[in-house]
């Protein structure tokens, strides 16, 4: 594979998008995607992530003033067919009138590559995607997972400069999704291509992204490595959208956070009324006396490897705690909690 030669950075400059009906899908966005990086756009539907991908692809053009650069080249005016990108769609977009092999060869045929080169490349792609036996099948004879493999093979066959994936796993069922996600990850690492991946699934985003761009209402909520996003969310939206976040309010005083009926050790610098956040895995259910917080079990979900316990009576909102404990929890039962002081977060609002 010669993909490394094609590694290019992508730069979006003041890219905004307003649709014909006046909807503002994307507020002006400046973003630099490094060569060879996998960047994931994450957010709920309507947040502008797909619009951004389509701007990069050339399927939409930005509002006046916005520019898209591939490397040093300004590609803003180029339609998608002249940008040399590979694209994978949620609905596969395979051509039903062609076999698997013909689908994969399509981009090569359009580029008028000689027949022998095409056949060779098709074989290479079929082998790479582990679908060597499917070359002569019709598209409607394939399962969803197989279809998305073909779509990946087809996108990569043209040796694109950038790989764009628009919710490629969303149409698949959970188990298949995990398998294919691991494969896509391995593929992206191996090819070292610049890749842009759009998803609403935070687990997918965490697993695949070198960096994640969390979006909300057409704006970037945070850009960062998966661990930054998870451990230091920049704002309330990111904190809530990525993973589960618990919240407690209290008054900061002498290295403690004081709440009605309990105190929590805290090393923060803020004073007065503060809100602290923590992840479910940063709280532990402990024996009476060993923890600083006390609450009551509302419900408990046994998930096999852990139990997710919903607790109220601590703060204004319910807390969600995950515990590896084998013991059973019953609604109404009193539990004691210890929260890891280092894991407490505050948000600037």
């Amino acid at each position: 594979m010669t993909a490394h030669e094609h590694r290019i950075p992508i730069r979006l400059v003041r890219c905004a998008k307003t649709f014909d009906d006046g909807t503002r899908a994307l507020e002006p966005l400046d973003l630099e995607i490094k060569a060879g990086e996998t960047i994931v756009f994450l957010g709920p539907s309507g947040c502008g992530k797909t619009t951004t991908l389509r701007l990069i692809a050339g399927l939409e053009s930005p509002d006046a003033g916005g520019r898209v650069f591939f490397g040093d080249t300004d590609v803003t005016e180029l339609p998608i067919e002249r940008r040399n990108v590979g694209m994978v769609f949620q609905s596969y977009a395979l051509f039903p009138n062609m076999t698997v092999g013909e689908n994969i060869a399509y981009g090569l045929k359009v580029r008028r590559l000689p027949h022998a080169t095409r056949a060779e490349r098709v074989e290479e792609m079929l082998a790479m995607m582990q679908i060597g036996q499917l070359g002569h099948r019709r598209v409607d004879q394939l399962s969803g997972g197989q279809r998305q493999r073909v779509a990946l093979a087809r996108a990569l066959a043209v040796r694109p400069r950038v790989l764009l994936l628009d919710e490629p796993l969303t149409a698949l069922d959970a188990k298949l999704r995990d398998g294919l996600r691991i494969e896509i990850d391995a593929l992206l690492r191996r090819l070292g291509m610049t890749a842009v991946y759009v998803t609403h699934d935070q687990a997918e985003a965490m697993a695949l992204g070198d960096r994640i761009v969390v979006m909300s209402h057409g704006r970037v909520a945070q850009v960062g490595r998966p661990r930054d996003i998870y451990f230091s969310p920049a704002n309330r939206f990111v904190a809530d959208f990525v993973g589960t976040m618990n919240s407690l309010r209290g008054v900061a005083r002498d290295g403690h956070l004081e709440m009605a009926g309990s105190r929590l050790p805290w090393r923060g610098t803020a004073t007065g009324e503060v809100e602290v956040l923590f992840r479910p895995e940063n709280a532990t259910i402990v024996a009476p006396g060993a923890g600083s917080l006390k609450g009551r079990v509302v419900s408990a979900f046994f998930m096999g490897d852990r139990t997710r316990v919903v607790i109220d009576g601590v703060g204004a909102t319910r807390l969600i705690v995950e515990t590896p404990a084998r013991r059973e929890f019953h609604p109404g039962e009193d539990v004691h909690l210890r929260v890891d002081a280092d894991a407490l977060l505050t948000l600037d609002r």
Binding site: N97, V110, Q130, Q133, L142, Q146, I182, E183
Partner: protein, 285 residues
């Protein structure tokens, strides 16, 4: 034995009625066209004489009908298919309006359409006396069938995404149109084509108004023969018409049949491929 309920007798009655009004008359007509003397019945002998007579008297109308039907098809392919594509690509109030107005020539009596055409263009002698005049009427009448047929097919596939997929692979507009749009619209185009040809060959209403003595189509000739010839000749003419139209109808039915294809169940590729007996190794390189 189980007693037969009223439903059985109701169905039987319906079947007999259908036979009496749909099948028997056609059979009678065919027999009439093949018997030496209709009033004496089949015992007067079977003959192809009348069919020959029809050919001698009316072969011109048959050729003209075929010419017009094919020309009508060509116009429909050149105009109707792109129109359907354009309508499918842009769904808004304007295209919906166009789509609905296309159907008007079916709703309005053919005679009225024909009269309107004559009022507007009747004074252009060359045009009025050529078969192109009839062609215009036929295209007006058949276009909605082609457009709807193609539109139905391309609305049932996600053409927009297919085209975006093709574009992402480097295909320009014409490459997409020929390589992706047309092949995937093919079932609709084929069904529409057969419909257009069938309707054009059989159209009488409008054609009767639009024709001149030198531009008679088959159905107009039929009316002429019924009115002025022996019953046997008219019936033999019907046979010729059936010969032309029935194969088209059968082809239409065959094309309209849904293809039975079962997609494999969603499962891991490795298991799905197991019967092929090629070891699917893990791709964790």
């Amino acid at each position: 034995m189980r007693r037969r309920g009223p439903a059985f007798y109701l169905q039987l009655a319906l079947t007999l009625l259908v036979a009496a009004f749909l099948i028997v008359p056609v059979g009678m007509s065919i027999t009439a066209g093949l018997t030496t003397n209709f009033f004496q019945g089949v015992k007067s002998g079977l003959t192809l004489k009348w069919v020959g007579e029809v050919w001698r008297l009316y072969s011109e109308t048959i050729y003209l009908s075929m010419t017009i039907a094919l020309a009508c098809l060509v116009v429909n392919l050149v105009v109707g298919v792109p129109a359907a594509y354009a309508l499918a690509k842009r769904r808004n109030w304007f295209t919906r309006l166009i789509e609905e107005s296309l159907v008007l020539p079916i709703a309005i009596p053919g005679l009225a359409t024909a009269l309107a055409l004559i009022l507007t263009y009747g004074t252009y002698r060359e045009f009025r006396t050529s078969w192109a005049f009839i062609l215009v009427g036929h295209v007006l009448f058949t276009l909605p069938f082609m457009v709807r047929s193609v539109l139905a097919i391309i609305s049932s596939i996600d053409l927009k995404t297919l085209e975006e997929g093709a574009a992402s692979l480097g295909a320009g507009f014409w490459q997409r149109f020929w390589g992706v749009v047309l092949p995937n619209a093919r079932p609709g185009i084929l069904a529409g084509s057969l419909m257009v040809v069938t309707l054009s060959i059989g159209e009488f209403n409008m054609t009767w108004m639009l024709h001149t003595p030198l531009t008679k189509t088959l159905p107009v000739g039929l009316a002429d023969s019924y009115a002025s010839m022996r019953l046997e000749i008219g019936s033999a003419y019907t046979i010729v018409f059936l010969f032309m139209i029935v194969p088209l109808l059968i082809a239409m039915q065959l094309l309209g049949r849904p293809r039975a294809r079962v997609a494999p169940r969603e499962e891991d590729t490795a298991t799905a491929l197991a019967p092929v007996a090629v070891p699917a190794t893990e791709i964790r390189s």
